[in-house]
């Protein structure tokens, strides 16, 4: 007990005697540990906001997309196709939406056309994402009205030129002017603003969801983009437990709609949010693996630095080792003394790395608006890894110290 305390005291003495050298030695560990914790903090910050975003989008929502030719290689992003059944090319129409709307497992559905258009108001022009949708979108996406009203079913059936706008659009075009009742131009056509949305923040992919204009899907199809199809249909399942049933009901309705003979592939694809979560977590796992690689390399470099400086230290302190041995220190006493020293060095480096990471993450989230979340796992990992590094890379110098011959050491100048 007294001896290990003495060892730790001697270790800190040595560390403080060469402050700059110790610091430079620890730098590898500090940077390695710090970088890993910071990246993990940013990663888990991003992940938690992605997960909560996907969940806020509703875990009971199914997205129906037009089919892509998956029989051909390169028929779509691999990760999205991995869990779904193969499809052939196809299209979705408003008639599909109407057929789905009253399905027994669904509480509703919305058809969507999504494009980008030039929006002009009082001489200011900007490219804005236009969401053409049936009026059910407001309920399904859980949009909240800030002022005015949503458009209604008759606006959709009449292809009315009405628009509901997000907070960002208000900021960009109107400033302090009340936008309700104002007329804006979307691709040279006049639209009357009937409502504004409450702010939604950014979505899972980091896009600003407030930079949006929602218009009736029919208006988008007929008057703006000349489309007969829709981009996708969102279906709201009555209960999360009914997702599988709903998927098969939608499949049978759409196959009937599209007159697909039995045995032929679907020409549409149904995606559910848990699939997206799985995709996300596989991306995160790859990221974590890469991080582990970076961490391993930087800790290795740090470890070699520690070994190097410990070898120097053993040489410099040959005489001290000789004195200790002459006075009765056993080989194992010297071994533990120098091992303690390299571990103290690497743990101190690890702790400084953690402090560095905490400060940087704080600065990032405070001033750069990056979401960070420091969790216990990387800290515990960092500490145990740096202990291990000190032990592994300290063993060779410590053994060299322990094996020194006392007489020769005493004679060393």
């Amino acid at each position: 007990m007294k001896r290990s305390l003495e060892n730790i005291k001697v270790a800190f003495q040595a560390l403080f005697l060469n402050k700059l050298r110790s610091f430079l030695t620890m730098l590898g560990i500090i940077i390695g540990v710090g970088a890993v914790i910071i990246i993990m903090a940013i990663g888990s910050g991003a992940q938690s906001s992605i997960v909560s975003n996907i969940q806020s989008m509703g875990t009971n929502l199914l997205t129906i997309e037009p089919g892509r030719d998956t029989t051909r290689p390169g028929g779509g992003p691999v990760e999205f196709n991995r869990n779904s059944t193969p499809t052939v090319r196809g299209d979705l129409y408003l008639s599909d939406y109407k057929a789905l709307k009253n399905a027994s497992t669904l509480t509703g559905a919305a058809a969507i056309v999504q494009r980008s258009s030039t929006v002009t108001y009082m001489g200011v022009s900007e490219s804005v994402s236009i969401l053409g949708a049936t009026d059910d979108i407001f309920k399904i996406r859980n949009y909240k009205i800030s002022s005015g009203n949503f458009f209604n079913e008759s606006n959709v059936s009449n292809s009315s030129n009405v628009a509901v706008i997000g907070q960002q659009i208000i900021d960009d075009f109107f400033g302090r002017i009340d936008p309700i009742g104002e007329t804006i131009k979307i691709d040279k056509q006049n639209f009357t603003i009937v409502g504004t949305l409450q702010s939604l923040g950014s979505n899972a992919m980091g896009q600003n969801q407030d930079a949006i204009i929602i218009i009736p899907v029919t208006t988008a199809q007929n008057k703006l983009y000349g489309l007969s199809t829709v981009n996708n249909i969102i279906a709201q399942v009555k209960d999360e437990s009914l997702i599988d049933q709903a998927t098969s009901e939608i499949t049978s309705i759409l196959r009937q709609q599209h007159h697909i003979l039995s045995g032929k592939l679907n020409d549409f694809e149904i995606r559910n949010p848990s699939q997206m979560l799985e995709t996300m977590s596989s991306v995160t796992n790859t990221l974590a693996l890469m991080l582990a690689g970076i961490a391993a390399i930087s800790l290795l470099v740090g470890g070699i630095g520690i070994m190097n400086i410990m070898l120097v230290s053993v040489t410099e302190r040959t005489r001290e080792i000789g004195i200790r041995k002459a006075i009765g220190a056993k080989n194992k006493d010297i071994l533990t003394q120098f091992l303690t020293e390299s571990i103290v060095l690497s743990i101190t480096g690890g702790i400084l790395g953690i402090i560095f990471a905490v400060v940087i993450s704080f600065i990032l989230s405070k001033f750069a608006g990056i979401n960070t979340a420091i969790t216990a796992t990387p800290i515990i990992l960092a500490l145990s890894f740096s202990t291990l590094i000190g032990l592994i890379f300290g063993i060779v110098p410590a053994m060299r110290a322990a094996r020194l011959n006392p007489i020769e050491s005493l004679r060393y100048e």
């Binding site: 003495q13 004195i323 200790r324 002459a326 006075i327 009765g328 080989n331 006493d333 007489i407 005493l410």
Partner: protein, 250 residues
């Protein structure tokens, strides 16, 4: 007859440097009893330090037997030798060999760190006793670099005393000191011997050797002559008679 502390028979030590063999010791026979105060003299390179290192269990002989208080030393492994150095031997070096970064207390305490048995209170007492024995109380918190050579050697003696060793081995303890300071060190040894301690000193100076009760002359790795000192010099008396620099300055 007093108890035998050290008994060596036919000790040889051969150093090999490449093809060259250096026969540093060529058959030393020596017995030291409890309470003896002995000095070893001899020309440079005669093997005095080699013999001291073997007696101090820092080195092992090439051949011969060595008993230290009934323990057959030449059969022991590194760990056991370290234990003997710690408990039975008090080494004092020409160059003091103190830890420059530790204060006086920690230097004196060092042998206790490697002998696990004492409790803290006992430790404190022993450190204080040791420092008192060498007239060095009041310097506990200082570093060796803040002390004079004589004071440093007194710290080294205090360190050698702390584990109550069977014998004190001093290799040219006054070699780096002026004559007055050297005399002070000899006074400490004299007092320790009068208290019953067994002391063996290596020296180049006959003046120093004449303080001890017996002089052993070594030449070419062999004991050449042993001689009893009829009227050993009393270091305290000599110190009192020594012309003092301070007196001259007044």
């Amino acid at each position: 007859m007093d108890k035998k502390i050290i008994e060596v028979k036919d000790i040889t030590k051969i150093y090999k440097i490449g093809d060259v063999q250096v026969r540093a010791l060529r058959g030393i026979n020596l017995t030291i009893h409890q309470g003896e105060y002995i000095s070893i003299m001899g020309p440079s390179g005669s093997g005095k330090s080699t013999l001291m290192n073997i007696l101090g269990c820092l080195d092992t002989p090439t051949s011969g037997t060595y008993y230290l208080e009934e323990t057959n030393v030449e059969k022991l492994n590194d760990n056991k030798l370290a234990e003997i150095r710690n408990k039975k031997i008090g080494f004092v070096f020409q160059t003091f060999n103190l830890l420059s970064r530790s204060n006086i207390i920690n230097n004196v305490e060092l042998p206790l760190i490697y002998s696990s048995k004492n409790n803290t209170k006992d430790r404190r007492l022993r450190i204080m006793d040791s420092l008192r024995a060498v007239n060095l109380t009041g310097w506990e918190k200082h570093k060796p670099s803040e002390l004079s050579g004589g004071q440093r050697q007194r710290v080294a003696i205090a360190r050698a005393l702390i584990n109550d060793p069977a014998i004190i081995l001093a290799d040219e303890p006054t070699g780096n000191l002026d004559s007055v300071t050297g005399e002070e060190i000899m006074a400490i040894f004299q007092k320790l011997n009068q208290e019953g301690r067994t002391i063996l000193i290596v020296t180049h100076e006959l003046d120093i050797a004449m303080h001890t009760n017996k002089i052993i002359y070594v030449r070419d790795g062999l004991i050449f002559k042993e001689e009893k000192v009829e009227n050993p010099i009393d270091a305290f008396k000599k110190l009192a008679e020594m012309p003092r620099l301070e007196d001259r300055l007044n």
